[in-house]
């Protein structure tokens, strides 16, 4: 039977229901937060992102404009010249490659004064004698 309005029983019941509801909500919230910030949760959300959170898809019946090329030949390595990738590469070179190269070899550098006035683009052609040429030249 539904208690009458104004009776103490009904007030008690309402409070109890509210308390239960609050507990339930908080419990759900905690579990939801754990799931949300777990590695699987983040990965799954990243996969589910939709426009405008994710980049837009291109309508099938709209021709894509020809991409702007900054190289003479159409290589599929444009990504490697983007700023974030260049930044990451510089960090790896300075903090990993260079110290490792110095551990293995102490290069003797001669003629670097000729590079002072050289402007890009430049091709460095190593007289390849070892696999360590690449890290040495780059660092």
């Amino acid at each position: 039977m539904t208690p009458k309005h104004g009776s103490s029983r009904s007030l008690l019941k309402t409070r109890a229901v509210r308390a239960d509801a609050a507990l339930g909500t908080n419990g759900h919230r905690r579990v939801a937060a754990l799931k949300r910030y777990s590695p699987t949760g983040i990965a799954s959300r990243a996969g589910r992102r939709r426009f405008p959170l994710a980049a837009p898809s291109w309508p099938e019946n709209v021709p894509r404009p020809a991409p702007d090329h900054d190289l003479g030949v159409d290589y599929d390595t444009t990504w490697s010249r983007k700023y974030p990738v260049r930044l990451a590469r510089a960090m790896v070179l300075d903090n990993v490659t260079r110290p490792l190269a110095r551990v293995i070899a102490s290069p003797l550098i001669r003629g670097d004064e000729y590079l002072t006035d050289v402007g890009a683009p430049v091709i460095f052609a190593a007289n390849h004698t070892s696999h360590i040429d690449t890290p040495l030249l780059m660092s």
Binding site: P52, L53, E60
Partner: protein, 529 residues
């Protein structure tokens, strides 16, 4: 790279959701496959030296008109009238075009030794502009030189001493305009052309006219016979204004018309996403959209409105032409089409549109329900040439919150129109017959119009008449996300989501209807083939 022309997209499964204005907010809607979305042409390149272009136009007029310097001489009476706050939209960044043009006219007048110069805001039955608005339009130099001496006035359509009746047209239409303008040796009119309806003879015959004159073409019959009023050659509104314009010229009023075209660059870079096609949004656009939409969702409408009304448009002048009214206006209209024209194949069953926060009649104010109807059905619906975008008996779906909210200072008679008139009938012809006269002659509304910043008592009627062609043509109007009470008062239907609206529309136009969405901003004109 030259600006791209307008574009009609056919929605497919890869098309991203489409952006809709929703008053002071935005919505993203995924439209059904096969729908069309019309995008405006990109902004045309502006003039590199606007001041030089204005000088050239004044010295090399079009039509049967002498160069402006030749029309100026000592002892003459010169009046410069200019468009009011309703143009352009949003208001443009400083310097406003009116300032650039009027400064040059004044320089030439000073060189010619003209002393008797007055400036008049051609506001017809619109509200009077405030001092900051006038300073923005004219610049401080002009305002400070003219306003303190009473030489900058706002047209008063209810001052019998400031009006002169020039006669009747061959159709019996009264032509009553501003006395100072009519009695001047030269009337220079400075126009900003944003849509094809603006300019031409309408500048003087409407902008400087009285109610007695305006009622001949601002009525439901004229609007229903204008297909559309944005197409000069099929517009009864234009025909009436042209008849009046000819009578004004025959009465000896010497009008030197200066018209300017703007590009459609309507929002500053922070809002670039508004004018871009969604599939071309870059990271910056997406971040700007997410930031703006999330912030606006949490901002009370009143403050969101203030934020938007503070936005100034980076509009730039693309052309300026001066001289005889009709010759000038022909060039202006061509230029409007170059910027705004989009060719569209065939009509649609359902036309959808997202309505913004602004219309010509609520700058720095509230877009009340009557103005919502006018913006959607008066303006957007009529932005066509040939045939309406939506077929006869079709449905228009508008997205706008449509709050039951009015600005009592700017729109006092709108409140009573909404409460007393629309509660009785929404038929424009019945409204005109039964109610117009009492509102138009109400002394309190006239007092507020003349002394405050209120639109004339009859103005809400005109806004409703603006919808007359659409109301006659359409099977139904649905507003998505509108206040149910306000929407029902307008005689429209309300839907909470676009999906619901489409389902409701299906009941009227049948299953599997065609849908076309007009993607604004910026505005454009459809050339429906």
């Amino acid at each position: 790279m030259s600006p791209r022309p307008g574009f009609v997209l056919e929605v497919d499964r890869s098309t991203p959701p489409t952006l809709y204005w929703h008053g002071e907010r935005f919505r993203m809607e995924r439209l059904p496959e096969g729908s069309r979305v019309i995008y405006a042409p990109e902004p045309l390149d502006p003039l590199t030296d606007p001041s030089a272009a204005i000088r050239h136009a004044l010295r090399h007029p079009l039509g049967d008109k002498d160069p402006l310097p030749a029309l100026l001489h000592p002892g003459m009476k010169l009046t410069i009238a200019f468009d009011d706050i309703s143009l352009p939209l949003p208001p443009m960044e400083r310097p406003d075009i009116r300032q650039l043009v009027i400064e040059q006219v004044l320089d030439m007048a000073a060189e010619a030794g003209v002393d008797d110069v007055e400036l008049i805001v051609a506001l017809a039955l619109h509200r009077r502009m405030t001092e900051p608005e006038l300073r923005h339009a004219l610049g401080d130099r002009i305002y400070d030189a003219f306003a303190p001496n009473g030489l900058l006035t706002q047209h008063d359509a209810e001052d019998p001493d400031a009006l002169v009746h020039l006669g009747l047209t061959d159709q019996g239409e009264d032509v009553e305009i501003n006395k100072r303008a009519a009695e001047s040796d030269l009337l220079v009119y400075v126009n900003i052309n944003l849509v094809a309806m603006d300019g031409g003879h309408k500048s003087v015959a409407t902008g400087l006219a009285s109610y007695k004159s305006l009622r001949h073409h601002h009525n439901p019959q004229t609007m229903q016979q204008s297909r559309s009023f944005m197409d000069q050659h099929k517009s009864e509104l234009h025909s009436a204004n042209w008849r009046m314009g000819k009578l004004i010229a025959d009465s000896g009023v010497n009008v030197f018309q200066i018209e300017t075209n703007l590009n459609n660059d309507a929002f500053p870079p922070a809002f670039n996403f508004l004018q871009k096609r969604e599939w071309e949004w870059g990271v910056k656009d997406r971040l700007a959209y997410l930031g703006a939409s999330k912030a606006l969702d949490r901002t009370p409408a009143k403050y969101a409105r203030q934020i938007f009304h503070s936005v100034k448009a980076p509009h730039r002048m693309t052309s300026v032409q001066a001289g005889e009214v009709e010759a000038v206006h022909a060039v202006t209209t061509d230029n409007v089409w170059k910027q705004q024209g989009v060719v569209v194949e065939g009509q649609t069953d359902i036309l959808s549109m997202g309505l913004p926060y602004i219309s010509p009649y609520n700058v720095n104010s509230i877009l009340n329900p009557i103005l919502v109807a006018c913006l959607g059905l008066g303006y957007f619906f009529n932005m066509y040439r040939g045939k309406p975008l939506v077929r006869e008996g079709g449905v228009v779906i508008m997205s706008h919150p449509t709050p039951w909210e009015f600005n009592p200072v700017h729109h006092p008679s709108y409140i009573d129109f909404f409460e007393q008139v629309l509660s009785e009938t929404t038929d424009p012809i019945e409204i005109a017959k039964g109610f117009e006269e009492s509102f138009a002659t109400d002394p309190w509304y006239i007092h507020l119009y003349r002394t405050g910043h209120a639109y004339h008592g009859v103005h809400p009627f005109y806004m409703w008449y603006w919808c007359a062609h659409a109301l006659q043509h359409l099977g139904a109007v649905i507003i998505v996300g509108g206040d149910p009470a306000a929407v029902h008062r307008l005689g429209f239907r309300v839907a909470s989501t676009m999906a619901d609206a489409l389902e409701m529309a299906n009941d009227i136009v049948g299953t599997s209807p065609t849908l076309t969405h007009i993607h604004t901003p910026p505005i454009f004109m459809s050339d429906v083939q």
